[in-house]
């Protein structure tokens, strides 16, 4: 598996980056932490935007002083640093999608997505779909012509779904048609689902000891610097305000979030849903296409285990649990292996000074004997 060409390409690329910045600062070694970093940037900038946002489609107060979603976004754009915070929020979202794709490709290329990592892979797919949907709701919130077009396209696409289509549309629009409630629903989805990302991330991380959540400061600086410099070249824009009586026909497409809408324009809606669902299923099935022999989980030698919990602390997959030792034991605790989590890497063997844990297919006593034999020559 680790000799596959894709892995070689990845290694060659990383080798090259290592030569420039050393492995300590290689962003590819923090690929999982990059989306997480952008998530914090999005949370912070989103909080600032939320302070000004009024989620209504029409005049909330009086006809002369129009205050609605669109005008609040306009207002934000004109206050000091408002436009830049908007830009950061938008481009951090794009960057997050790029980072997630990078993360996904790297774990795929280096064969780190199967077997004992299946929970991470599946929860990762759910997280990716969530992020895409949250990003799309972000585009609805601006409430310019594009938002209106996107909202209508989404509602229309729900129409073709059997059984769940109607309730989904009702939930999406928060009623039969686009009203003020629709936008408050969009705001809720945008923010509420963002927080549910944290729950998804917990599942994503739960099978890992010490997940790498933050890239080193150098990489954080670099990423934020790239965002800030990008702002100047591509300042965020919005179209003219949405008017419910008109149907906008063309709009700019953000290729990271809005590609499904491009897809919708290329085929009929049944085919669109078929493509999306098939794509997700293929992604979910990807780990099962490759056949490899099963992992042989580490085994604890119950008689030798002293309950020191070193193996449990060092296991990268949180696969060793310390349980109370059986009655009659001299020690308080006993290590037990959750075999469904075990990767068979043997870090626990390296952690054990009492020879009390073994990989059944590769005994450390055999290895030591081999080492001693070669040393004696």
């Amino acid at each position: 598996m680790y000799t596959q060409p894709l892995n070689k390409v990845t290694l060659a690329l990383e080798q090259w980056i290592n030569a420039v910045v050393t492995s300590k600062y290689n962003p590819l070694y923090y690929h999982g932490a990059l989306p997480q970093f952008f998530l914090w940037v999005l949370f912070l900038s989103g909080l600032l935007l939320f302070a000004y946002y009024v989620p209504t489609i029409d005049n909330a107060y009086s006809a002369e002083k129009l205050i609605n979603a669109y005008t609040t976004v306009e207002y934000i754009t004109h206050i000091p640093f408002g436009a830049t915070i908007r830009g950061i929020h938008r481009y951090a979202g794009d960057a997050m999608v790029i980072a997630i794709l990078l993360h996904m490709l790297r774990v795929w290329f280096t064969d780190r997505y199967r077997q004992y990592r299946i929970v991470q892979w599946l929860s990762g797919i759910v997280l990716l779909l969530l992020v895409l949907f949250i990003g799309q709701t972000g585009y609805y919130l601006v409430w310019d012509e594009r938002s209106l077009a996107l909202t209508r396209m989404t509602a229309k696409s729900f129409d073709v779904l059997p059984i769940i289509g109607e309730p989904l549309k009702w939930w999406f629009l928060n009623g039969q048609e686009i009203t003020n409630y629709t936008l408050s629903n969009f705001l809720f989805i945008h923010i509420g689902l963002s927080f549910s990302l944290l729950f998804g991330l917990w599942i994503h991380y739960v099978r890992m000891q010490r997940p790498v959540l933050t890239p080193p400061p150098v990489i954080q600086f670099m990423l934020f610097a790239l965002l800030s410099i990008l702002l100047l070249w591509y300042p965020v824009t919005s179209g003219s305000m949405a008017t419910l009586t008109q149907q906008p026909t063309a709009f700019e497409v953000d290729w990271f979030f809005l590609w499904p809408y491009w897809l919708m324009t290329q085929m009929n809606l049944q085919a669109y849903w078929l493509t999306i669902v098939t794509g997700v299923i293929v992604l979910c099935m990807l780990p099962y296409f490759v056949h490899t022999k099963e992992v042989e989980a580490a085994e604890v030698v119950t008689k030798k285990c002293t309950g020191c919990s070193l193996c449990s602390r060092d296991c990268p997959y949180a696969a060793i649990e310390m349980v109370p030792a059986p009655a009659g034991s001299r020690f308080k605790l006993l290590a037990t292996v959750k075999s469904y989590r075990c990767s068979g890497c043997g870090v626990c063997v390296g952690a054990c000074a009492f020879d009390a844990i073994d990989l059944p297919n590769l005994l450390d006593t055999d290895l030591t004997a081999k080492i001693t034999a070669s040393a004696k020559g």
Binding site: T22, K24, F81, T84, V218, F221, F224, I229, L232
Partner: protein
């Protein structure tokens, strides 16, 4: 020899960092938009002409780079973030240079305490 080079590198990098940090509040105040309003000549305790030229240079190059942006009322805020980005870039390059010393591919065990 290498230590002298090292010191010079650090000195240059830190000067650049400080320079950029000085730039940032200028951008924030919107002074990059109108360098003439920067009260540089009035300062008696330091000759600022060099910095003023730098400000002018920065403004002109920014405007050339971002054709059309000068119309935006938010130009100074974008400029602020631009310089913030440059500063962060330089800071990270400096950190990489400093952190580079540690060997990453070889670990020699330390001998006794």
């Amino acid at each position: 020899m290498s230590k002298v080079l090292w010191a010079i590198t650090i000195l240059i990098l830190s000067t650049v960092c400080v320079g950029v940090v000085v730039f940032m509040p200028l951008a924030e105040l919107g002074l990059l938009n109108s360098p003439n309003s920067v009260p540089l000549e009035s300062s008696t305790w330091l000759q600022f002409t060099g910095i003023q030229n730098l400000v002018k240079f920065g403004r002109i190059s920014l405007l050339t780079l971002t054709h059309g942006m000068q119309e935006s009322p938010n130009f100074q805020y974008y400029a602020y973030f631009f310089f913030l980005g440059i500063a962060l870039m330089l800071a990270s390059v400096a950190l990489i240079v400093i952190g580079h010393e540690e060997p990453q591919e070889k670990t020699v065990l330390p001998r006794k305490k």
